[in-house]
């Protein structure tokens, strides 16, 4: 499912692994206070997303109103993917200069993350771009009808 939390959790686990193995300025990246702070920030967002998913599922079964969660999950997932990509780019350092798909003799290295960086953009476009999602949340979730619904000429 697009916007589901399983994919987000897998992506984050891989990011933690990258932060543990990369070295920045001679020390493990995960020990850099700035990197660690952002890593925890994303960790909490991933956890929040997972719990939101769980509540949404529970309420689908119980029949209680799930609120806006079914509408906001995809936009939230795209937001998390943006932050994961930004931190991965920092962690890659100069390896980010390499083409991740080039036919090289040696095994592909951390530059594979560049595929994630590009792929996360696709995720924010597939099944409705982020701006379409914002329109859906505003119209169906917040009850703001907007130009298209109110003015057929738009």
């Amino acid at each position: 499912m697009v916007g589901g939390s399983t994919r987000t959790q897998r992506l984050f686990a891989a990011l933690v692994q990258l932060a543990r193995t990369r070295r920045l300025d001679g020390t493990a990246a995960v020990e850099d206070p700035t990197i660690r702070d952002e890593l925890v920030r994303i960790h909490v967002m991933v956890e929040e997303h997972r719990l939101g998913d769980l509540l949404r599922t529970t309420r689908r079964h119980s029949g209680r109103d799930p609120g806006l969660l079914p509408l906001t999950a995809k936009l939230a997932a795209s937001g998390i993917a943006d932050r994961v990509s930004a931190l991965a780019l920092t962690l890659l350092d100069e390896d980010a200069l390499l083409d991740p798909n080039a036919d090289r003799e040696e095994r592909p290295g951390p530059e594979r993350w560049t595929n994630q960086w590009l792929g996360s953009l696709g995720l924010s476009i597939a099944a409705g771009t982020s701006n379409i999602q914002r329109d859906i949340i505003a119209s169906r979730g917040l009850g703001l009808s907007g130009d298209r619904e109110r003015d057929p000429a738009c």
Partner: protein
């Protein structure tokens, strides 16, 4: 029933009783606190609001965690947090969080005499209590009593009893006792006034449980502030939404402009899933799960930053009206920084989470 560990139990929601409590508090507290009343309190000498405090007492919220034989309901931190969200939504003045934490501490660590004397008075709202949990300044315990200054204590001005954190654990200190003095401290949030507490060989009663109980009360404090922040952020979204539906500019409701619609959609996406974080932390603390403290720190770090963002967006959505002292957003603009900085800033709490997760 909300599970302690959602990995083991697919049911993740409040039970019917807590759900109903939340709905009841939403109606009762917002009715007691229209904007005009909140503005009055911000301009007043004190943050005391007998009407909303009476409703909290009548609904039974002030003594939730006290045992039933002492006028309480024997509830855990989760129920206190559900109420704290509504306290934050309505911007209830005074030290709800300090009061219920003192009740929690006395209920779990007080001796029979203390519990019999204080818990019914506090549960009924006839006396006020708070906690002094500063991480930087801890009074010292000697044979002659407690000595030292805690520079920032919410709710100390009207308190009859304060539970003080020391290196050994928690101690109960009656504020009227010799050697106890308090002074008002001008704070950012005039709905929740601050004061300093100075002790000079003050008489005190140590609570059982030592540092373990002190740690638990601090973790609970973080959960309750996180819940307050989530409630405040929800109010900011609702205020912004109401304004967007009403306000007309250039011949259109501003909620029809895509820039405003998208700003509100982003705000909703930021706020909507937040409950899970403090529910899980509260549930883990109630289950004495060792991950409770980490979850509490994580919830407080994230949700108080979301509240800051929500308050600032809400001001911008309201334009100049949002920037007005007696405008509709001001109480929450001022509550957000208190939630942010009390009992650990987001940055320091994220360092705690990182250490707990074994990251460096």
């Amino acid at each position: 029933m909300l599970s302690a560990d959602p990995e083991l139990d697919p049911e993740f929601d409040l039970d019917g009783t807590r759900h109903d409590l939340q709905a009841l508090l939403r109606t009762a507290l917002t009715a007691a606190l229209p904007l005009t009343r909140l503005t009055e309190i911000m301009d007043a000498e004190s943050d005391e609001d007998p009407a909303s405090w009476r409703r909290l007492a009548d609904i039974g919220v002030l003594g939730l965690s006290a045992p039933s034989e002492h006028g309480g309901a024997g509830e855990g931190i989760l129920t206190l947090a559900v109420a704290a969200e509504e306290v934050g939504y309505a911007a209830v003045p005074g030290a709800y969080i300090g009061h219920v934490l003192a009740v929690l501490a006395l209920g779990e660590g007080g001796d029979d005499d203390q519990r019999r004397h204080w818990l019914p008075l506090l549960a009924g709202g006839h006396r006020h209590a708070t906690v002094a949990l500063s991480g930087h300044d801890t009074p010292e315990r000697t044979v002659r009593g407690l000595s030292g200054t805690v520079p920032v204590v919410p709710g100390i001005a009207g308190a009859d009893l304060v539970v003080v954190s020391t290196a050994e654990g928690l101690s109960a200190v009656p504020v009227a006792a010799p050697g106890v003095s308090t002074r008002p401290v001008a704070g950012i949030d005039r709905t929740r006034r601050l004061g300093s507490l100075t002790l000079e060989n003050a008489a005190h009663t140590p609570l059982a449980g030592g540092r373990v109980l002190a740690r638990r009360v601090l973790d609970a404090a973080r959960v309750l502030v996180a819940a307050d922040a989530h409630g405040g952020a929800r109010r900011c979204l609702d205020l912004g939404l109401a304004h967007a539906r009403e306000r007309v500019q250039f011949g259109k409701r501003i909620g029809d402009f895509q820039a405003v619609r998208h700003q509100l959609a982003d705000l909703a996406t930021l706020i909507e899933p937040g409950r899970g974080l403090f529910w899980l932390a509260a549930r883990r603390l109630d289950a004495r799960d060792e991950r409770g403290g980490t979850s509490a720190a994580a919830a407080k770090a994230h949700l108080t930053e979301v509240f800051i963002a929500a308050a600032r967006h809400c001001v911008r959505l309201h334009g100049a009206l949002g920037y007005t002292w007696d405008g509709p957003v001001n109480p929450w603009v001022k509550r957000a920084p208190l939630d942010h900085s009390l009992y650990g800033t987001p940055r320091s709490l994220r360092a705690v989470v990182a250490a707990d997760l074994g990251w460096g």
